[in-house]
């Protein structure tokens, strides 16, 4: 029986989550779901960072994760404010219908 | 490994049972205290002095019709009380109730218990304080989902107000928690309490380069808002005609929200006790006789109860008060027994301090009027958050200056 979890399993999980995020980003049409797929991708990358930090036994990977989280928070705040404004002006959340700069 | 699991399961069962009973009786305490503030007896008839009232309430809530309205979003409607009560109860797993318990080799008939020691805590995480903050952050989901899934304007409004209030007050609360952590220099709850050992002068509220009185006040105010208590209970009381976010809930699901609120009150009181008031440490060292204080208090209470029982003002009191008097005197005797003193006295101080803060919660509820919602939000963003930040800056500066 395995004494611990092989590192490659963590990286595979990160790849799976990342590709699911990419799939959601490309195939969904609700703008909020697209935004959530971006957050999913960021989470997958965070898992990767922490895994490599374990591999090299350094704490720097944790710090990168921390900064990614902070930037994701800032991005979520501004992105959702933009989504609110877009909804106020276009009354739709379907990205196929928000396709011209004209009102 | 197996003994650790068995021990933890036993401790978890004990803590859970005590917590559930405390939740039920906390409601009795609240009703009695508010009643006496308003010069009326409170629950009085169900059992002696209403002590069986929580049992009656539990029976009522369980046997009520468990209605799921047809117009609600069923998944989230059923998920919301589950989230609320789970996140409220999970914080109890990192709270230390007393020092390390040493159980010596004991022979009870054929059963031989070897010597072992275990902490009076379910688990001592290195990041215990952050764990409790995380659990209270996740508690917001229960309320937001409850209001949204109920498909009811007033419930949604109450839920949005309550969630916005909770996340706004998380900020000054986190800063007020960070300040004594700067003084005590650890995130683990057990080490936090152990760093406040000594006398009352080494509790975080009075000790250190900067006594944490302002942090204590800011933490208390923020925890009133976090638990949706008066004076910040607009989300659940303004719509009291329609009860805010738990309008469409009945029976056990409503009871879950209710229990979640009381569990949150207990959690923040315990946090303020551990962070500021020294946890289970006595106000003066045991060498000067602080081990006799519980016995003196219970003995005094027993004598007073016996006196009032013998000169009863109301007829029913002549049966009940002598019984209480005898019970209190027996408890006073238990506190004098040497084998249990090592763990019972710290537990007494822990419960006494937490109980004082809970009494303050109930006292404020009976006394103060409530804030309007915009006053509430303006208070946190314009006054409380800058005050908490300033407090943390001053604490950090003084700690850095006096530490080499």
């Amino acid at each position: 029986m395995l004494s611990g979890v092989p590192i490659s399993w963590f990286l595979t999980l990160s790849a799976v989550l990342f590709s699911l995020g990419v799939a959601g980003f490309l195939f969904r049409r609700n703008i909020i779901t697209v935004f959530m797929s971006i957050e999913l991708m960021l989470n997958a990358v965070n898992l990767s960072f922490v895994t490599f930090s374990y591999h090299h036994k350094e704490v720097a990977g944790h710090l990168f994760t921390f900064f990614v989280m902070v930037v994701a928070a800032a991005e979520a705040a501004v992105g959702l404010a933009i989504i609110l404004t877009v909804f106020k002006n276009r009354a739709t959340l379907n990205i196929d219908e928000i396709d011209s700069m004209k009102n | 490994m197996e003994s650790f699991l068995v021990l933890t399961v036993i401790k978890a069962v004990i803590v859970f049972a005590v917590l559930m009973t405390t939740l039920a009786y906390l409601q009795w305490v609240e009703r009695k205290v508010i009643a006496h503030i308003q010069v009326r007896p409170g629950p009085y008839r169900v059992g002696p002095h209403g002590l069986l009232q929580p049992l009656a309430d539990v029976i009522k809530l369980v046997t009520k019709e468990d209605l799921v309205p047809p117009y609600v979003n069923k998944t989230f409607y059923l998920l919301a009380p589950f989230l609320a009560i789970t996140m409220a109860l999970v914080s109890i797993s990192v709270i230390p109730f007393g020092p390390i318990l040493k159980i010596g080799p004991v022979d009870i008939g054929p059963l031989h218990i070897p010597q072992f020691e275990t902490a009076m805590q379910l688990t001592d995480l290195n990041i215990g304080v952050l764990f409790i903050l995380a659990a209270s952050s996740l508690g917001v989901y229960g309320i937001a989902l409850a209001g949204w899934s109920s498909n009811n304007k007033y419930a949604l409004l109450g839920a949005m107000r309550s969630s916005a209030q909770m996340i706004s007050y998380e900020l000054p609360m986190s800063l007020a928690i960070a300040s004594p952590l700067l003084v005590s220099n650890t995130l683990s709850l057990r080490k936090l309490v152990e760093s406040q050992e000594g006398s009352i002068l080494s509790w975080n509220i009075l000790h250190g380069p900067f006594p944490q009185i302002f942090s204590f006040i800011i933490f208390l105010i923020a925890s009133f808002a976090e638990t949706n208590r008066v004076p910040f209970d607009l989300p659940e009381a303004e719509n009291e005609l329609v009860a805010g976010f738990h309008t469409e809930y009945s029976s056990m699901k409503f009871a879950s929200f209710f229990m979640a609120e009381y569990a949150n009150i207990i959690t923040v009181s315990i946090m303020s006790c551990l962070l500021f008031l020294g946890g289970w440490n006595a106000p003066w060292p045991a060498a000067y006789g602080s081990s006799l204080v519980p016995a003196v208090i219970f003995g005094g209470a027993g004598v007073i109860a016996l006196y009032h029982g013998l000169n009863a003002a109301r007829k029913r009191d002549s049966y009940t008060f002598p019984v209480f008097g005898v019970v209190f005197l027996l408890l006073a005797g238990v506190f004098l027994l040497p084998p249990v003193q090592s763990w019972l006295i710290p537990l007494f101080w822990f419960v006494a301090k937490t109980g004082t803060i809970i009494f303050a919660f109930i006292w404020v509820r009976g006394t103060l009027p409530r804030f309007r919602y915009d006053q509430l939000m303006a208070f946190t963003w314009k006054y409380l958050f800058p005050a908490a930040m300033l407090n943390m800056l001053v604490t950090g500066f003084l700690v850095a200056w006096t530490t080499n």
Binding site: I7, H62, A74, A77, I82 | Y141
Partner: protein, 166 residues
């Protein structure tokens, strides 16, 4: 024991992630994303990243996702309608994804041939003290820059979302 925990929470993360992408109503996607973040927090604990696990739950699952849930409730976004998928998306989407994943997994397996194993207690330098020390000494400049970034984000969000004073 560690393997069992990893498998349970990795499976939970993947199921919740699939749910994020597949569900039509944004609220279900948001709550599934909270599930993903919770499972990832447990996996961070397995990797010895205690502070990051707590920060993940407090910041990501407890604040950012609450913001998402608020916006979804405010906008009252209904369920998305399923119509008009192009042929390529419908029939080539999932197989392409699986193919890409297989390539990624193969390369990952080649580069890390089961040498390092992750177990509880394998890395103890992830506690709050180590992270704090590194944050305030080696990585002080990024820390200060991100604090300014958050300030800019706050001002930007307020400006974008306020009512026009016409």
């Amino acid at each position: 024991m560690d393997v069992i925990l990893f498998l349970i929470f990795a499976a939970a993360a993947v199921v919740c992630a699939v749910n994020v992408v597949v569900q039509t109503h944004p609220i279900s996607s948001a709550l599934s994303l909270v599930g993903v973040m919770g499972s990832l927090a447990v996996l961070y604990l397995l990797l010895g990243a205690e502070f990051i696990a707590a920060a993940q739950v407090i910041v990501y699952a407890g604040a950012i996702m609450v913001l998402f849930v608020f916006v979804i409730m405010l906008l009252n976004a209904g369920a998305e309608s399923r119509k008009g998928r192009s042929f390529m998306v419908q029939f080539l989407g999932v197989p392409l994804l699986v193919f890409f994943l297989a390539i990624a997994a193969y390369f990952v397996q080649r580069m890390f041939p089961d040498s390092t194993t992750v177990r509880f207690g394998g890395f103890t330098g992830g506690g709050a003290e180590a992270v704090g020390r590194a944050l305030f000494t080696t990585y002080l400049l990024p820390f200060e820059v991100t604090s300014i970034l958050i300030l800019i984000a706050i001002v930007g969000a307020i400006v974008l979302a306020r009512k026009e004073l016409d």
